[in-house]
């Protein structure tokens, strides 16, 4: 159960090695924390992250999770619920950036990216939402992206999956609110992390820690969306309405 300060006891990170996801977990850590589950594809990398979170009072478990295998998701979530009881926060941070040069021409690569970022994200989120709705409380944090706000030519498959995931998460959030479940959609801009290593930072770039601070603040304030950094909200509300002929010519990377 969350306490009155919005400090969760049990945290599940889907995409358990994600820099942003782990930063959110660290930001949520408090004396109330009892269990953290890192669900990830690369469990040995997950174990290294777990080692840094573990303490006398906090149990940390690493479990295998393949976003591209939706048929395994219900069992995964139910298994965690069975071992730890109520889950207070689920963070969905599993996602790939993909190489746009490949995913825009290679059918298999596009499918894989779409499966992980959209299909698999939807399936595991529905599984988590079922559990949280039955327990009558809990929060789901969905890591979307500003890339989904208006999809750019530079990475249409990635942007498209985030646009779909973002829309799904908002609708789901409205549906499950009456069941005591809070869905928070986080829209980071360019975050300097493992996912973007080697890429040239875009304007208003930020860090996983900054995204995490804004996310936890948004969670505690009961917000439905968080932009990181906050200024991107205004940038993108303008960009959304730029006419297409001009939009195409904008130097957006």
């Amino acid at each position: 159960m969350d306490n009155a300060l919005g400090q969760p006891q049990t945290i599940v990170l889907l995409g358990g090695t994600s820099d942003i996801g782990l930063a959110i977990v660290r930001e949520l850590l408090s004396p109330a924390t009892r269990a953290i589950v890192l669900a990830c594809r690369d469990t040995s990398k997950g174990e290294r992250a777990a080692g840094e979170l573990r303490s006398d009072s906090v149990v940390v478990e690493v479990v295998p999770f393949d976003a591209a295998d939706p048929s395994s998701h219900a069992a995964l979530v139910e298994g965690i619920g069975g071992r730890y009881g109520d889950i207070d926060v689920v963070i969905l941070a599993a996602g790939l950036l993909g190489n746009a040069d490949v995913t825009t021409v290679d059918v298999a690569a596009a499918t894989e990216l779409a499966t992980v970022n959209f299909t698999g994200s939807v399936s595991v989120t529905v599984a988590a939402a079922n559990l949280l709705r039955a327990q009558g409380h809990g929060a789901i944090v969905i890591l979307s992206s500003v890339a989904g706000e208006r999809v750019r030519a530079a990475n249409p498959v990635y942007g498209g999956t985030k646009a779909g995931l973002d829309g799904f998460a908002q609708g789901l959030g409205d549906l499950v609110a009456a069941d005591g479940v809070h869905v928070l959609v986080v829209r980071p801009g360019f975050v300097r992390s493992a996912m973007t290593a080697g890429l040239k930072p875009a304007p208003l770039s930020t860090t996983p820690e900054h995204v995490a601070r804004l996310t936890v603040k948004g969670l505690r304030a009961g917000r439905r969306t968080v932009w990181a950094p906050g200024a991107l909200r205004y940038v993108f509300s303008a960009l959304r309405h730029v006419p297409a002929p001009i939009w195409r010519r904008l130097p957006l990377g």
Partner: protein, 460 residues
């Protein structure tokens, strides 16, 4: 018996969760208990506990239709001085029924808007704890609906373990259907009150230690924004029910009684609420200055004396969307230095608290989870969104526990299972009695989940 999924929170308006809420009559209870799902059931009264004590996320929450008005209480037994009352009746409705007959409840907390069932579940205390103890001391018997649907008549000499596990048991032993309460005879519906304005904490400790025993009721309102030499400055109010001869001649019916509310706060309050550091500081200053240095025998109504905040309906909304948290703890006598340390820490944090309350507790009763124990108790409201609040409360928890103190379930909304295990060493004894009457864990609550109340602790 329609079930409606509803989001519920406590009086602090934090950590809302959803449950199936069933409005029902007592006769429908066994059926509702039998059909409760895996997350069990819990009775909810008027929702005045501050945290998650009356919530049962994903499970069933039972709201009992109680008789209201004149039917709230049976006739007072004038010889035994007691009354049998349905558990869903509020103490306010009970007072309306009994004060004109010359009786008062033995224990009244800071609000009349609590049910008899909730009062027993929390083993509430009032300003007279140092003399009369908590409400459990005045329950002569009660009927308890058990998890198997049977009804047990329990009293201090009938199934005493179950009786005392239910007193302060946070609704986790069963549903109290009705209770027979010992009452206090009164001659008038007025209070005769002495007021002292005290300049600092040492003066408060001294005045209460020296003089409390002469009064039935005693409480100090502390200004937690006063610093330095003024640290702990307080207004101490003490008194008793006025006797007939204390009323001025021609004051009409000495037992006239009406409960009232002057205003109510509307549902929507501008973010981030109206109670912030500036408004609270202004209020506390005004309130301290308006108190007389020393005044004796002032006659006031019981509402003004016991429940001043009841004059403002839904005052909890003043804290805005983030809600508020109430922190209440007790430390044993001899731990005045600890109390000072806690107050210094609260003052230093700049946490704006609106009328903190300091009181001396008398002897504890036999209930394993009863909160009051001999010592000093401090209760204060804090806006839940205050910066650094989590860290500070955790730090204060350790100070309180190290001093042999503990926290109050009816107020708690933040602490941890470990803090409860330390503060309530008889927890396992309570669990054993509870499990004996509810092996299938029908009775559950968010408080129980958050604080592991139902789990037998092997890791202790």
């Amino acid at each position: 018996m329609a079930a409606v999924r509803e989001r519920l929170h406590g009086w602090g308006r934090t950590a809302a969760t959803a449950a199936e809420v069933r409005e029902l009559a007592a006769a429908e209870l066994p059926e509702a208990v039998r059909t409760a799902g895996p997350r069990g059931a819990l009775a909810r009264g008027l929702g005045r506990s501050y945290g998650d004590a009356a919530q049962n996320s994903g499970g069933t929450v039972l709201r009992l239709h109680g008789p209201v008005g004149d039917a709230a209480a049976g006739p007072v037994d004038p010889v035994a001085g007691c009354v049998t009352v349905a558990a869903g009746t509020s103490l306010g409705d009970l007072l309306v029924a009994i004060v004109p007959q010359g009786w008062f409840v033995q224990v009244l907390p800071g609000t009349r808007h609590v049910t008899v069932g909730g009062a027993i579940a929390s083993d509430i205390h009032g300003k007279n704890h140092h003399v009369e103890g908590s409400i459990g001391n005045h329950v002569l018997s009660m009927r308890l609906l058990l998890a198997d649907g049977s009804v047990e008549d329990i009293a201090p000499d009938r199934r005493p373990e179950l009786f005392w596990a239910t007193i302060g048991g946070m609704g986790l032993t069963g549903v109290v259907l009705d209770a027979t309460l010992r009452l206090l005879p009164i001659e008038t519906s007025r209070m005769a009150v002495d007021t002292d304005r005290l300049p600092d904490l040492d003066a408060v400790f001294a005045a209460m230690t020296e003089g409390d025993d002469r009064y039935r009721y005693s409480v100090a309102w502390i200004d937690l924004l006063a610093k330095g030499a003024h640290l702990g400055r307080s207004v101490l109010t003490r008194g008793d029910h006025a006797r007939l001869e204390q009323l001025p001649p021609g004051s009409g019916d000495p037992l006239a009684y009406r409960s009232r509310q002057l205003v109510a706060v509307p549902p929507i309050v501008p973010t981030p609420g109206l109670l912030n550091h500036a408004t609270i500081a202004a209020f506390n200053e005004l309130w301290f200055r308006k108190a007389p240095r020393h005044r004796e025998g002032e006659l006031v109504g019981t509402g003004t004396f016991f429940c001043p905040l009841d004059l403002v309906g839904h005052w909890n909304r003043l804290y805005g969307r983030q809600g508020m948290l109430q922190y209440q703890f007790v430390v044993p006598f001899g731990q005045e230095a600890t109390m000072r340390r806690v107050i210094e820490r609260l003052v230093a944090s700049g946490t704006a608290s609106f009328l903190a309350v300091l009181k001396r507790f008398g002897v504890a009763n036999l209930a394993p989870l009863s909160f009051p124990s001999p010592g000093w108790t401090l209760a204060l409201d804090i806006p839940a969104g205050s910066h650094g609040l989590g860290e500070m409360l955790h730090e204060l928890d350790q100070v309180v526990l190290d001093a042999g103190g503990r926290h109050y379930f009816a107020k708690d909304a933040h602490t941890t299972p470990a803090a409860i295990r330390r503060g309530y060493p008889r927890l396992d004894e309570w669990r054993a009695v509870r499990d004996g009457v509810d092996p299938g864990r029908v009775w559950q609550s968010d408080l129980a989940r958050r604080l592991d109340l139902l789990e037998r602790s092997s890791e202790m």
